[in-house]
Amino acid sequence: MNKIAKLFITFISALTLTLTSITSSFAKVEGDMIVLGSAISLTGKYSSNGVHTQNGYNMAVDRINSMGGVKVGGKSYKFEIIYYDDESNPKRAAQLAERLIKQDGVHYMLGPYSSGLTKAIAPVTEKYKIPMVEANGASRSLFTKGYKYLFAVLSPANQYLEVAIDLAVEKNGGKGVKIAQAFEQDAFSQDVRLGILDAAKRTGSKIIIDDKLPKELNDMAATLAKVKATKPDVLVVSGHTKGALTAIRQISEMKVDVPMLAMTHCDAAKLSKQHGKKSEYALCASQWHKNLSYKDKFFGGGKKYDKDFKKEFGYAPPYQSAESSAALLVFKDAFERANSFDRDKVRDALKATDMQTFYGNIKFGPGGQNIAKPMILFQVRCKGDSCENKVVAPTKWASDKFFHPIPPWSERG
């Protein structure tokens, strides 16, 4: 090795050492800053939803800080978040969580985007007894492992489409229905499937098609041909944005007539924008909608949040952003009730959370999942060429009547 190379290596190692010593001087609470950590997908396949999550976090941090911050022990503190890009990779996410905790000394964590990444991080936060409030991991398996430091503000995945089956049964005069379903083979979608199986059992419905879609899914023609041949009462599809877009494309092209179509990820897929009228009547599960009447003092209500978010980031907030903002409100509330920065006291305070945010009521069940907030269903409805998502269930917040059955393609323009 020549001299210059040696010199270069020395220089680099010196630089790294300095940098690590600087970062590790961040503690849980620095001066008047409460430091939170989050590994988040800024690149890779989850990057668009990762950014929605980050925007939601940032929006709430700014709002809470500008409205007096967090009051603990008579002193006012401000939130600050250290972000690392996990590249949408679970292994990387777990490493980064370790790094946030061990090197950066973070004592409180915010969740990443997606169930898969949350699953990767949860064992780490659990090991170091770090309370984590997450807003984007809905998989049921997160809440059955007995984690004590994991709190999720969102409803678990198995609740996503249960309501849809209830609606179908109601429309069928209380009798069981025939269900055709196609789910991607990933943790989240399979949990949605379990929810449907439960609902089917409860209502005496029969599942006549039960397809598992591959991860590389881009063609559902075979599933849809089966649907056409067997004429079910409901078709349920869950395969993230790809599943939603593929389903609508092929249902409209193959002219598959089904009285009811229920899906997930419609708004993330921008279904009504990308497919326009073809997506009309699709029923979609959502964690949140701006028209809900929940309120809090930081964001006002859903409509105000929608407006402020648009002003700040230039697009309408998907529910991924709203639930992420809510996670910060939960943390603030817990710190103030604990009136301490002791991790276990904060954890106990989180456990006892019972509050309303603009996003919905939040109260944690024994597994850490939010048990106080129902899922909502909206239906895509079009006027001319412009399509909108209208809330149709639960009835308390419904702005429109649920349209049933979907008219056959021969009658649709």
């Binding site: 396949k45 989850y46 990057s47 939803n49 881009n218 944005t241 790809k242 877009l245 494309r249 193959m254």
Partner: protein
């Protein structure tokens, strides 16, 4: 397990037609792969990502208000230059090395392309709308999206044009000569460097066409390139290099196989079945080869 497909004959027709139309599209991608594999002895892992990039070109046109079907003309032209540039930048450094190096290099290219597309076009799944409507057969019991029929015809037209071009044109002859024996071609005055660049460009152009067709028939996402690479690899393995009719037939065969596997084994085994088939074919080929060797002894 219920075999719905055997109870409803119309499903059989539907599955066959779906499979064949999709298979023709795969065959186009596979032909590009076979071409540059044969000429340059490079297995291009980035094949699928070139396809997706081609799709994004058509999608960009669609966003700009141009009908995405024009993508089948614009996309190959742009992609030719992308391929040509890739050759000059990376591939020419690995073209004479062993297969492993070229696999590694193209794998790297694939990752770079995925991230670039993610960066430029975002990680959202997107579709372009052709509004071509649907053809209904047998009293609406078999439905064929016109976009799929369109894509099969375009693929066939380009394939035929390419075959004629390879047979008649000077460059086509040079490419074929280089494929047969690069050294001999060089001695006889063929500028193999140029031939390689053109071959890689033509391959990228074929991917561009396929991508534009995929944007109107299926969905686009920066990370869905790999299944297209695997499928074309598979088709080439079955068909052999430099045999277009075989590539077309094996493409359609694969499409059919996938559709029927979906009905009989279940959707979850659709891609798995393709991999199983690949293993069987590789083992079978080896078996045949070893027999041949014994015979030669």
């Amino acid at each position: 397990m219920d075999f719905l497909i055997f109870k409803a004959p119309m499903l059989m027709v539907q599955a066959s037609l779906d499979g064949i139309l999709l298979g023709i599209l795969f065959a186009l991608i596979a032909y590009g792969m076979a071409l540059q594999w044969g000429v340059m002895n490079i297995i291009n892992i980035a094949q699928g990502d070139l396809v997706i990039l081609g799709g994004y070109i058509a999608y960009t046109m669609y966003l700009a208000g141009i009908h995405p079907a024009w993508g089948v003309i614009v996309s190959p032209i742009l992609m030719y230059f992308v391929g040509w540039g890739l050759y000059k930048l990376v591939i020419n450094k690995v073209v004479d090395r062993d297969l492993f190096i070229s696999i590694l290099a193209t794998f790297g290219i694939a990752i770079v392309f995925q991230q670039l597309m993610n960066f430029i076009f975002g990680a959202d799944v997107v579709v372009a709308q052709s509004e071509y409507g649907t053809t209904m057969l047998f009293d609406n019991s078999v439905t064929l999206p016109n976009s799929k029929i369109f894509s099969a015809f375009v693929s066939l037209a380009y394939a035929v044009a390419l075959v004629i071009y390879m047979k008649k044109s000077k460059l086509g002859r040079a490419i074929r000569a280089t494929a047969q024996n690069a050294r001999a071609a060089k001695i006889l005055g063929v500028d193999t460097e140029k031939v390689y660049a053109a071959t890689f460009g033509i391959n990228a152009a074929l991917c561009g066409i396929a991508g534009a067709l995929i944007s109107i028939t299926l969905t686009l996402h920066p990370y869905v390139g790999l299944p297209y690479t695997v499928r074309s690899f598979m088709i080439v393995i079955v068909a052999g290099l430099g045999n277009l009719p075989a590539v077309a037939i094996s493409g359609m065969g694969l499409g059919l196989f996938e559709e029927f596997a979906d009905y009989i084994l279940g959707t979850e085994f659709r891609i798995g079945a393709v991999f199983m088939l690949l293993v069987f074919i590789l083992v079978y080929r080896r078996f045949k080869l070893s027999k041949k060797r014994e015979y030669l002894k």
